[in-house]
């Protein structure tokens, strides 16, 4: 009996102590371990590609699956789609028909801090920040030495670091523009605690200093391979940031902006595209006018944002999706009557070629924002090339997102000149008329020096750059976004338009972020 008990105890002890019986450590088999990933040098290139890809696609599987950010349908979560919506829908530029409450809020400027699109844009911007920080932390000299990265690849990695910092600065600019004072998280910030809120001035200073710091490590203006940043992109971001500095920190810096604008023009790297429509067509990677475009590809970069959204959503009603190289019409976006009114009416002789497609549906005025057949279809984005060939896929569009282009730079020159930033009035007139000549095909649309006023520039920006995601920023710079001075259809959720409160020039910080990060203070008014 004793013997039994003893041996039983011995066996039980052996069972508990014997580690094999209690071994629970199982490593994932179908994903890459964080300890082994950098044994391949190509990982650094894949990492910088992911920082860029954060602008272009939504996850790791293409259109659908394994999204970068959670809490929202993946299709909605594409960077440019979110940014574009926030810069466009609350303005006189475009309106969207779909019944989602969150979109109605954007259409009318009456958003709440729990609006999922605002939150998603905020997280998108900070996803870029976090990705860039990962790259910067994983590519320090000591880490590269430790992993024995060969000297030959070091210059390339130095460029990745510069690109990551520039991409981070781009997203901080977007965050500053949309949300104002946000936390400033760099590769040196502790991630074990919630980061503190920075001031708008601190964010502004950070963006400017970072862009100036990385400029020498990037290829000359126009010299980068397609899809990557060069000094032209840096100059463009700096020009935008300086130009809107009045909005951000109270003091505009038109002179510095003009310096950047002039450097872009003087480089001679870009020229106006003779064909306005090419910049929104499936072969726009060949356009000489684009300074930076977010690449899109129907086979290899699938997502439901970017130009896939812009091309599909602009089609509906009497428009035939197939004409645009698309499988479906999404019946979403129309131009609001106020922007349409800036173009000469159809049949009045002079034709502005930028007025891409005047599908006169039931009525240009909008009384029901959810009725696609009200308003003006303005489908300038297409999934066909200028030669008429369809894109590689009918669902996912090949057309790249024109983020920065020379046409915008010309209008910036004119505006900066008018605002006292330097340059000459004659040069400004030349640039504006270059755009107008392209639009009219001849000099009939040209303007004279007295006609070139700030008000004209704002209208010309609406005509030249409609549906390109600039309008909210422009209206704020002109002081017309909120308030009673400028009213448009469904502003303030009234069909005829209504006044909105000034605080709505900034979006609220997302409600979920305020909970996760107790150090943040909500923007005034929300």
């Amino acid at each position: 009996m004793k013997r039994i008990i003893r041996s039983t105890l011995a066996a039980v002890v052996a069972l508990f102590v014997g580690s094999a019986c209690t071994d629970l450590t199982l490593s994932p088999k179908s994903t890459i371990n964080s300890e082994t990933v950098f044994t391949e040098v190509a990982a650094y290139r894949s990492l910088i590609a992911k920082v860029y890809a954060g602008l272009a696609v939504t996850g790791q599987q293409g259109c659908c699956g394994d999204p970068d950010i959670a809490g929202i349908d993946e299709g909605f979560s594409q960077y440019w789609r979110l940014y574009w919506q926030m810069q466009t829908l609350p303005t006189d530029d475009a309106i969207i028909a779909w019944g989602d409450q969150a979109l109605t809020e954007l259409n009318t400027q009456l958003w709440s801090s729990s609006n999922p699109f605002l939150g998603a844009m905020y997280y998108r911007a900070f996803f870029q920040v976090a990705m860039a920080n990962v790259l910067l932390r994983e590519t320090t000299t000591s880490k590269l030495d430790q992993r024995g990265v060969p000297a030959g690849t070091r210059p390339e990695i130095a460029q990745y670091r510069a690109e990551a910092r520039a991409l981070r600065a781009l997203s901080y600019w977007h965050a500053l523009d949309l949300f104002g004072a946000v936390p400033l998280v760099t590769e040196n910030t502790s991630v074990s605690e919630a980061p503190a809120q920075a001031t708008k001035q601190q964010i502004y200073d950070f963006i400017v200093s970072e862009l100036i710091a990385v400029r020498p490590d990037l290829p000359a203006i126009g010299a980068a391979e397609y899809g990557r940043f060069d000094q032209g992109t840096i100059a463009m971001i700096l020009a935008k940031v300086y130009m809107n500095a009045g909005t951000y920190v109270g003091t505009p810096n038109y002179t510095a902006a003009m310096t950047e604008v002039q450097s872009i023009i003087a480089s001679g790297a870009y020229s106006l595209d003779a064909n306005y429509r090419r910049m929104f067509s499936a072969d726009n990677q060949n356009s000489p006018e684009l300074i930076f475009a977010i690449p899109q590809d129907g086979m290899r970069m699938r997502n439901y944002g970017g130009t896939t959204f812009l091309a599909h959503a602009n089609v509906g009603g009497p428009l035939n999706a197939g004409d645009f190289g698309l499988n479906f019409a999404w019946w979403g976006l129309r131009m609001r009557p106020e922007t349409r009114a800036l173009f000469p009416s159809i049949g009045a002789g002079a034709v502005d070629a930028r007025a891409v497609f005047w599908a006169n549906m039931n009525q240009p005025n909008i009384t029901n924002m959810q009725d696609f057949q009200q308003g003006t279809a303005a489908p300038k984005y297409t999934n066909r090339t200028t030669g008429g060939a369809a894109g590689s896929d009918q669902e996912f569009v090949d057309t790249d997102v024109p983020m920065f282009r020379l046409g915008d730079v010309y209008l910036m020159y004119a505006e900066l000149n008018l605002r006292g930033g330097g340059g000459t009035a004659a040069q400004a007139l030349t640039y504006v008329n270059a755009l107008r000549q392209r639009a009219y095909g001849n000099a009939t649309g040209n303007i004279t020096a007295p006609q070139l006023t700030l008000a004209f520039v704002l209208d010309e920006r609406a005509r030249e750059l409609y549906m390109e995601g600039h309008r909210r920023q422009d209206l704020i710079r002109f002081g017309l976004f909120t308030g009673a001075t400028k009213i448009w259809t469904f502003k303030g959720d009234v069909a005829a338009g209504a006044t909105t409160a000034a605080f709505r020039a900034l979006y609220p910080l997302p409600a979920s972020e305020l909970i996760a990060n107790r150090k943040l203070t909500q923007n005034t008014g929300y």
């Binding site: 009996m1 039994i4 011995a10 052996a14 069972l15 094999a20 019986c21 209690t22 629970l24 450590t25 199982l26 994932p28 088999k29 994903t31 890459i32 964080s34 990982a43 894949s46 590609a49 992911k50 890809a53 790791q60 293409g62 970068d68 959670a70 809490g71 929202i72 028909a97 989602d100 409450q101 969150a102 809020e105 009456l110 709440s112 609006n115 939150g119 997280y123 900070f126 976090a130 990962v134 998280v185 919630a194 397609y226 899809g227 990557r228 086979m299 290899r300 970069m301 699938r302 499988n327 019409a329 019946w331 029901n368 009725d371 009918q394 009234v494 979920s512 972020e513 909970i515 996760a516």
Partner: protein, 990 residues
């Protein structure tokens, strides 16, 4: 060394036994009930001689065997609920076997038997936990495809929710949900083999379809923490133990049964008729009048049918000395009422049990193998049928009607003809068990059990280039094939010590053991698009324009040590203590191990000496239990930081190159299991000599460390959410079960008994994050992509609806004003209707659930009926909200049919967030009725039984949708018509 330690233990125990020097004399026999002659299981057989006392127990078939030395003995047989019986002066000669036969008289009208609990069995009367066993005589009848349907409405606190499709998905909630992001389904254990959460793998229908309900002997539901704590990290949502039939000497040697059924539509979505639709288009979308046809088509009629089903079951069982076996074969072929759907099952099982080595080794084995073949309705057949224009003729001169606009629905008849979607699952579950009776220590046994669950399935959908969807999307044929495979292996070793200590007036039942479970899964899928030919159909892959193969391999491990002690003192005081220590590979090294204790006590007040010996109160037992359970049913590797490589369609363009990407994951390395702590107070009672018996239970459950995906401070990780343990919720409720023997049915007269299962449960989220005011939106709906209409927030019930308060007009209808401010109450009075005006309003959980079962007999006739009522459950009618607005007629030139509610509301634009669509879905349903007649000794058969049954006889409900039981989460997206099934069949026993 891995599992060899376990074998070593057994080897050590066995080897240390003295040589087989004992006498081969023995006392064997049987114990049967005096009335009815059924075997009495687990009766105690005490053999007493001079200075000797040996105790044996009867097995499943009422047989016992007690080895003794030569001598003279007194044999006493005892069983709760029966009067003891004894045989004195039993003389056993050296080497002889004496056979005795006992017939025990019941002392109560209803006798509760023995039921399985985790790692053992227990007398129902002695149970300290809340355990309910359902046996075949109480099972639901009719066409039952899945085991869960057998116990619908039978056990209080157990909700069984199916999706109306034969063999379709079924959800079970035991005492409400305890989780948000992990599963809320109970753990299923079949003959000791735990299945994966949710039941395991299938090609799309209910995973438990692999189990033939005809092979089931008993379904036992463990509800309170004391009963489930022995399953530790998987017990939080209750445990369902399924015991399958094994051979028994009293069972007929051959049985054959069949049944044939016919299902027809009982209720369906309320859509506009052709005339109503024509009028609606004319009034609201004059521009689209030209698109209307002149026919009068009911599209739902065209895609549904009266569906037949047939089932055949054969079983052969027998006994040879101590050996028992049972072999069975089942065939099921059931059509769905939706055209093109079908489920078939071929199932086989083999069960073996023997007692060997001088009664010291009990060996048993169970094997089941099943092939399920399923046909699914391809594409969106139902959705398309619901939204097709009813004025169009489906087929004109051999060509299908299709909308010219690709946004319109596709003709479901065309899809049915061209597309295919089929699946098959092969699954086998088995176990081998060896139980060793140690002679040196009376009452000590050791059990070694090994089991497996192997499942492989395939699901293939195919769409040829000629299908409308392909034409519209520009694809020329698509093939999608998923072929997952899972293998689970189980090794358990446990010892049991069960002995009466007369001097201490006690009985001790101790169990302790070790289990090792490993799960391996590989999940392969293949997608091909732009096929060069349609001719291979779903059976081959021609040259394809685009292919996407994928493979993911996962494994997980669960290792446990457990112990349980049951102590019975003076046959009226009971105590149970159990402890389980679980280790799971799903968590990081610091959180792998968790401890799950439980405690329970019982007091049979009725048996106190001071209790009046009235037969009117025949039983009274008070129970209390406390225990901690866990939930670990979510993904593997959540704690491991990894880099995910991007796919070929998620690259980034550098010049002319498309570079693959890498993304680091955002994880919480400290993630651990959800923990539920539960208290239960119960009262078991019997009145009028146990003519009326029942149990009343009151419980509360508090779940902490709920796993939530929570927002993290932006910029700190690559991702805005991290899955971590943060929330908590509680459930509390009252359950009452009653069994009332109204008429005993003596001498072929009327017999009638009635059962009730009544329960309430209240759920409340107590926190979901660090912030009191935080809320998480859930409940995605159809329409308005990304719209969610339910909320998790502290103070509200799980998945409360989160909607606007619709202003009601004088007629009680929702106001249909021009702006949101006209329609909805501005809760925060800021003059704006936006997300801040949504509020939590009602929730999907029923306040009260009542299940009722009636069984009656007269002579050879038997009748039964099962009914169910839910009170206070609310459903969001998503079919109405998605289709109940006129803008669907104007938004495109492909106007689709509308839900009839639009005629009342007149909504132009969808009002997804209106509380108008949150409806009270209380209902009363007669789930099934049946009648059966048994012939004695007809044409040489031992018995011939014929039966007829009707399922889903009627439903009374104020709910406007198809089925008030639409989905466990209360969002009614269900287009599937409700069916009524009539079944008839016979069974023969030889």
């Amino acid at each position: 060394m891995k599992r060899y330690g376990v074998f070593a233990l057994i080897a050590v125990l066995c080897a240390s036994e003295p040589a087989l020097a004992q006498s081969s004399s023995r006392i064997v026999g049987t114990v049967f009930a005096a009335e009815g002659g059924t075997p009495i299981v687990a009766a105690e057989v005490e053999v007493r001689g001079t200075g000797v006392r040996r105790v044996g127990q009867t097995r499943d078939d009422g047989r016992f065997s007690v080895p003794v030395d030569a001598g003279t003995y007194t044999v006493v047989v005892r069983r709760l609920g029966y009067a003891p019986d004894s045989a004195a002066n039993v003389v056993v000669a050296e080497g002889a076997t004496v056979t005795l036969s006992f017939r025990l008289r019941t002392t109560a009208l209803q006798v509760l038997g023995v039921t399985v609990i985790g790692y053992g069995t227990q007398d129902v009367r002695n149970a300290t936990g809340t355990v309910a066993a359902i046996t075949p005589d109480k099972f639901n009848v009719g066409r039952v495809v899945s085991a869960e349907q057998l116990i619908t409405a039978k056990v209080p606190g157990v909700q069984v929710i199916d999706n109306n499709e034969p063999g379709g998905g079924i959800s079970i909630r035991i005492r409400g949900g305890t989780s948000v992001n992990a599963s809320n389904e109970p753990l299923f254990v079949i003959d000791g083999v735990p299945l994966n959460v949710g039941g395991g793998l299938s090609s799309g229908r209910n995973p438990l379809n692999f189990l033939n309900p005809n092979d089931i002997k008993e379904v036992t539901v463990l509800r309170d923490a004391s009963a489930t704590a022995i399953y530790g990290s998987r017990g939080a949502n209750g445990v369902v133990l399924i015991t399958t039939k094994s051979g028994s000497s009293t069972e007929p040697a051959f049985t054959y049964s069949n049944s044939f059924s016919s299902s027809s539509i009982a209720n369906r979505p309320d859509l506009l008729t052709a005339d109503q639709f024509r009028a609606a288009v004319t009034a609201n979308a004059p521009a689209n009048v030209g698109t209307l046809g002149s026919a009068n088509t009911n599209w739902l009629d065209l895609v549904t049918r009266t569906a037949g089903g047939a089932e055949h079951n054969f079983a052969a069982s027998g006994a040879k000395e101590d050996m028992r076996y049972r072999l069975s074969l089942g065939l099921l072929n059931q059509d769905g009422i939706l055209a093109g759907t079908n489920t078939q099952r071929v199932s086989g099982s083999a069960s073996y049990r023997d007692v060997l080595l001088d009664d010291r080794l009990e060996l048993s084995a169970n094997f089941k193998g099943t092939r399920n073949s399923d046909l699914y309705s391809p594409g969106g057949t139902l959705g398309n049928a619901v939204s097709m224009d009813p004025t169009q003729a489906p087929l004109t001169a051999g060509s299908y009607f299709q909308y010219t606009n690709p946004l319109g629905p596709n003709n479901p008849l065309s899809d049915l003809a061209l597309l295919s979607d089929e699946g098959s699952t092969f699954r086998s579950v088995g176990n081998i068990e060896a139980k060793w009776y140690f002679r040196q220590i009376e009452g000590l046994t050791g059990t070694l059990r090994s089991g497996y669950d192997y499942a492989t399935s395939s699901r293939t959908s195919f769409s040829p280039s000629t299908a409308q969807g392909d034409i519209e999307t520009g694809r020329t044929g698509r093939l999608d094939r998923n072929t997952p495979r899972q293998v689970n292996t189980l090794l358990e070793v446990f010892g049991n010590f069960n002995r009466q200590f007369a001097s201490l007036e006690s009985r001790l039942d101790l169990t302790s053991g070790y289990t090792f479970e490993e799960q391996n899964g590989d999940y392969a899928s293949f997608f091909a698009e732009d096929l060069s030919t349609d001719l291979l159909g779903p059976n081959g892959i021609p040259l394809a324009g685009e292919t996407r193969p994928s493979l993911s391999v996962e494994e997980s491990r669960l290792i446990s040590f457990f112990a349980r002690a049951n102590w019975t003192f003076r046959e009226r005081y009971y105590a149970t203590v159990s402890l389980r220590r679980d280790g799971s590979s799903r968590f990081g090294p610091d959180n792998q191990w968790g401890t799950f204790p439980s405690f329970a006590a019982g007091w049979r007040i009725r048996d106190e000496n001071w209790f009046p010996s009235t037969r009117n109160i025949s039983d009274l037992k008070l129970r209390y239990s406390w225990g901690v359970n866990g939930n670990q049913s979510f993904g593997n590797y959540l704690y491991v930081p990894t880099y995910t490589p991007g796919g070929a369609q998620a690259t980034y363009q550098f010049g002319n190159q498309f570079v693959s990407t890498l993304r680091p994951s955002a994880v919480d390395p400290n993630i651990k299991w959800e923990r539920t702590t539960a208290n239960n107070v119960g009262l078991d009672f019997g009145f009028f000599n146990d003519r009326l018996t029942g149990a009343l239970d009151i419980y509360n459950k508090e779940t902490d460390d709920l796993i939530f995906s929570v927002p993290v401070p932006a910029g700190t990780t690559t991702g805005n959410f991290v899955t971590t343990n943060i929330g908590s919720m509680k459930n509390s409720g009252v359950e009452l079960s009653l069994s009332w023997l109204v008429l005993e049915g003596r001498n072929g007269g009327w017999g009638y008994d009635a059962g009730f299962a009544i329960s309430t449960n209240r759920n409340e989220i107590t926190s979901i994050s660090a912030a009191e005011t935080d809320r998480i939106l859930t409940g995605g709906i159809a329409g308005g992509v990304g719209s969610r209409i339910q909320v998790l927030q502290p103070g509200s019930a799980l998945n409360s609806f989160f909607v606007y308060e619709h202003i009601k007009g004088a007629n009680g209808q929702p106001v249909n004003g021009p702006t949101d401010l006209d329609r909805y109450v501005d809760q925060n009075a800021d003059g704006i209707i936006n997300q801040d005006d949504l509020r939590a309003y009602k929730d999907p959980a029923p306040r009260l659930i009542i299940g009722h079962t009636s069984t009656a007999s007269y002579g050879n006739w038997e009748f039964s009926a099962t009914a169910r009522a839910y009170l206070g459950n609310h459903v969001y009618n998503n079919v109405a909200s998605n289709l109940g607005h006129f803008s669907g007629l104007t938004q495109t030139n492909a106007p689709g049919n509308r839900h009839a509610s639009v005629l009342e509301t007149g909504f132009v634009n969808p009002q997804y967030f209106s509380d108008y669509y949150v409806e009270d879905a209380s209902f009363l349903r007669l789930d099934n009725i049946s009648a059966a007649y048994t012939f004695d000794r007809l044409m040489g058969a031992r018995s011939v039984r014929v039966f007829g049954a009707m399922q889903n006889v009627f439903t009374f409900s104020g709910y406007s949708g198809v089925d008030p039981l639409a989905g466990v989460n209360g969002i009614d997206n269900n287009l599937f018509p409700l069916s009524r099934t009539v079944t008839a069949g016979l069974s023969l026993a030889f």
